[in-house]
């Protein structure tokens, strides 16, 4: 790719980028949020058309106008959000959109060949809605291979996978590399870059900064290049100051609307001035747990009590968020779905600040001035990159969206802070800003419940870690000194060490 430039309105997403991709090599594409990685790859896969520049494959200039052009050239992209039809089987999804006669039997045979060649496990006749996230991803990969792709682009493929599934994916990717395919992987996780890639290329603010062989570099150097200045990669973990019980959960049991048991007899205590990490494979009841505490989730049985400073307790179950706030309980919640739940994507920063405060005062009119000021403060203090506080939040990049959300939630001086996947999809710099903010809240005596997916981070940040497995508490371990292997085992098997 030579001199690739792409503008979105006034925003320069890619500025004269040069990038070489070699066969038989895994290239990691690094960069902060909004540095143009995905845009660049979207141009390679025919979703966008570059404003300037040219793309050559095997020395021949090519023009990629549509995803079909890209397929014809052997380029396939696996997106962060899967593009599969739920009610069809794996094989049907894979042949979907292909021309020629529909022969599902032959297709299934070829799918099995591909799977055998690289070590995938796919049942061609399984319906997509019966599949786990990791299986769906596998189908996506097989889909592009089926179309004869020999240049594969994966956009943050491990964001949704467990450590074990990630290992499996990496094995497959290595097999494909050894088969002579060119692989590009976009990721934020440094240890994955080091474990998997042969070469890294780094983008910053839409510009190409440099590339190098992975074995000649290290996480610190790559991070510095991404950010543009030196950063420290250690997460602080100050000792908790005067921890006292703040939230007591007893025998909490939750069923989803379909009657599926989501949480089964969960009990724990969250202390003030402490970060309680919650680990678990995604979908093990983390979401339900936080939403139950926040008053958003009907509970089958059990109790959640909030302990006041003077020792009196308030029961939170059966109350909605408004009633909980009415008790004087200052509870902040940074949900997993930032734009779908925590914020209103189409509203500007100031109006989003107002979500928490608009009821204040008896007037029928809203007070627009104080949210506006709060928005300005958040933008300034958390270094949110935005054209202004009247910009709709959907125009901000992921890290900035999260800063706005966290900024609003801590502005109300909470005593309990619930966070779900607070750094998912965030680049290193933004992630560390968020860790710092969470630590500040901890120092201020807030009981923080931190649901995380990156075990390395949980082990460095949390004072105690509660491991969920299939809706049950698999164990609670102190954050200091816990081993990643033990916690990983507890995530997949109740009690973890049961099998010795």
């Amino acid at each position: 790719m030579r001199n690739i430039t792409k503008r979105f309105g006034p925003v320069l997403a890619n500025d004269k980028v040069w990038l070489d991709i070699y066969r038989g090599e895994i290239l990691a594409l690094l960069g902060e949020n909004g540095s143009g990685k995905t845009t660049l790859m979207n141009m390679l896969s025919g979703i966008y058309f570059p404003d300037e520049g040219e793309i050559s494959i095997d020395g021949k200039p090519v023009v990629i106008r549509s995803p079909k052009d890209a397929f014809d050239l052997g380029i396939g992209m696996i997106h962060q959000h899967f593009k599969l039809v739920d009610v069809l089987t794996a094989a049907e999804n894979i042949v979907l959109g292909l021309e020629g006669k529909l022969d599902l039997k032959a297709a299934a045979r070829r799918i099995r060949e591909i799977c055998d060649a690289y070590g995938f496990e796919v049942d061609p006749s399984q319906k997509i809605y019966n599949m786990s996230v990791s299986q769906k991803q596998t189908v996506e990969i097989v889909k592009v291979l089926y179309r004869g792709a020999d240049i594969l682009i994966l956009d943050e493929p491990t964001a949704v996978l467990t450590p074990q599934e990630t290992d499996k994916l990496f094995t497959v990717l290595r097999n494909m590399r050894n088969d002579g395919k060119a692989i590009v992987i976009i990721t934020h996780k440094m240890h994955e870059v080091e474990a998997l890639s042969d070469r890294v290329a780094i983008l910053r603010h839409g510009q190409f900064v440099g590339d190098m062989l992975t074995r000649n570099t290290n996480a610190q150097e790559m991070t510095n290049m991404m950010v543009g200045h030196a950063v420290t990669l250690n997460i602080d973990r100050p000792e908790p100051i005067d921890p006292k019980p703040r939230i007591e959960v007893n025998g909490l049991t939750i069923r989803s609307i379909d009657g599926i048991l989501k949480l089964d007899d969960v009990s724990f205590t969250a202390n003030s001035g402490e970060i309680l990490g919650i680990a678990g494979i995604s979908g093990c009841g983390q979401k339900e747990l936080l939403e139950a505490i926040a008053g958003l989730q009907p509970v089958e049985k059990g109790s959640i009590s909030y302990v006041n400073d003077n020792g009196t307790k308030e029961e939170l179950i059966g109350k909605d968020p408004l009633e909980i706030a009415g008790l004087g309980v200052s509870l902040s919640f940074v949900p997993e779905d930032r734009l779908g739940m925590g914020l209103v994507a189409n509203m500007d920063l100031a109006d989003n600040m107002m979500l928490r405060s608009f009821r204040r005062g008896r007037s029928v009119f809203t007070d627009r001035r104080s949210p506006y000021r709060l928005a300005e403060n958040v933008v300034r203090d958390l270094e949110v990159i935005t054209p202004g506080v009247t910009t709709p939040v959907r125009r901000l990049s992921g890290g900035n969206v999260q800063k706005v959300l966290v900024g609003r939630e801590i502005a109300s001086a909470p005593t309990v802070l619930l966070t779900a996947y607070a750094v998912r999809g965030l680049d290193i710099n933004s992630s560390y800003t968020i860790y710092d903010l969470i630590n500040q809240q901890k120092a201020a005596g807030v009981a923080v419940i931190y649901v995380g997916e990156d075990l390395d981070v949980l082990l460095e940040l949390a004072d105690r870690i509660l491991v969920l497995c299939g809706g049950k508490v698999s164990g609670i371990v102190p954050g200091r000194g816990a081993s990643k292997r033990d916690v990983g085992l507890m995530m997949t098997k109740l009690g973890g060490k049961a099998n010795g």
Binding site: N3, R7, F8, G9, P10, F49, D51, E52, G53, E54, K60, P61, V62, V63, R65, A294, G295, L296, D320, P321, L322, A325, F333, P335, D337, G340, M341, G342, L343, V344, A345, N346, M347, D351, M354, L355, R356, F358, R359, V364, F365, T366, R368
Partner: protein, 366 residues
């Protein structure tokens, strides 16, 4: 030149926000282009002089003082129904029942005029008309709202079907209250006593309606943009999950907003019977409940812009009628012109949001 690459000729790119004068220049060009195309169609199809056609279109609305007042009255009534459906639309709740909600308001007004005349004083009749018609409109919208809030039924179908119920009810009562007997129609109600007729102010029959709707328009603008209710409506419309997350009671907001929507439709019905027509027919609302959807969308749910969009639609509608009579063409020809003009105006939004770029040849190869 052996490996000549074919680049696409142009591509479409999203624009940054345009300054207001540029977007208005684009809209103006769109109207101009629409007029030219319409002119061509007119000449080619009918052989009439397009300028004469436009002049008569213009005269249909602005030709005489009376026509001008009728234009204003029509705008006011259309605007009233449009304002009524707008809060629901902002909530992404597609109230297509404006027609029925207004009609049921008409029915209640007419019922008060017919049944109460001579039994209680005139002012009391008018109070009953106001209360009953607004209430009836609210109930007509409240029923679908209740089912949507409680059982998540589809409000689009539900409100649409309520229209037919209202039409049939009115048709039935038109026969029950027919006057003179055997005509199957109601005719002018209380023509001599004028009981239940709204007072004429300033010597202009339509002035009262226009003032009331103007006030509603300003009030709606303030309600939607500056009040807590308005903010709640916007949040629920954008994301119900966010609304629940911050403790907004979504069911309550849906029902409250739909009641307001229906009440304003009821008001439109009240004005149609009490102030303008003094009669009741199943087609009294003249499809305004549906035209209102277009008015509201074209104005992007902004009450103040809706004054302009309802002006546009009423102007086009009346112009089409005028052409039909003056040139002996049928009504459909006027509708064709209206369609062409609307097509261009709506299409211009595309050019405001997107630009078409010619692809530059990259680099300077020989």
């Amino acid at each position: 030149m052996d490996n000549k690459v074919r680049n696409p000729l142009f591509h479409v790119a999203k624009r940054a926000a345009l300054p207001w004068y540029k977007s208005w220049a684009i809209r103006f060009c769109a109207v101009l282009a629409a007029l030219i195309v319409c002119g061509l169609i007119t000449t080619l199809v009918t052989g009439e002089d397009p300028v004469a056609v436009y002049v008569s279109m213009w005269k249909g609305s602005f030709g005489t003082a009376r026509r001008f007042w009728v234009l204003l009255q029509n705008i006011a009534m259309l605007l009233c129904v449009s304002l009524a459906v707008t809060p629901a639309f902002r909530m992404r709740c597609w109230n297509l029942g404006g027609e029925g909600q207004a009609l049921i308001g008409c029915l209640c007004s007419a019922a008060c005029m017919i049944l109460l005349s001579g039994k209680i004083p005139n002012w009391a009749v008018i109070v009953c008309m106001i209360v009953s018609s607004i209430l009836a409109g609210a109930v007509w919208a409240g029923i679908p709202a209740f089912f949507k809030a409680k059982y998540n039924t589809n409000e689009t179908l539900f409100t649409l079907m309520m229209n037919y119920v209202a039409t049939q009810l009115v048709a039935y009562f038109c026969v029950v209250w027919e006057n003179p007997k055997g005509s199957g129609q109601i005719g002018i109600i209380n023509p001599n006593s004028q009981i239940g007729w709204f007072p004429v102010i300033g010597g202009q029959k339509y002035l009262l309606n226009i003032i009331i709707v103007a006030l509603v328009c300003v009030a709606m603008h303030i309600y939607l943009n500056y009040t807590k209710h308005g903010y709640e409506i916007a949040v629920v419309g954008e994301s119900e999950r966010t609304a629940r997350y911050v403790g907004i009671k979504v069911d309550r907001v849906i029902i409250r907003t739909m009641l307001l929507s229906g009440a304003l439709c009821g008001l439109a019905g009240l004005l149609l019977v009490g102030s303008t027509n003094h009669t009741l027919t199943p087609t009294l609302v003249e499809g305004r409940g549906f035209t209102a959807v277009m008015v509201s969308w074209l104005a992007k749910f902004n009450p103040i812009w809706m004054i302009l969009t309802s002006l546009l639609l009423v102007f086009l509608g009346r112009g089409a009628g005028e052409i039909a009579t003056n040139f002996g063409l049928n009504q459909s020809f006027g509708d064709i012109l209206t369609g062409v003009i609307l097509f261009f105006i709506i299409g211009s939004e595309f050019f405001i949001n997107y630009q078409i770029k010619l692809t530059k040849s990259s680099g300077k190869e020989e």
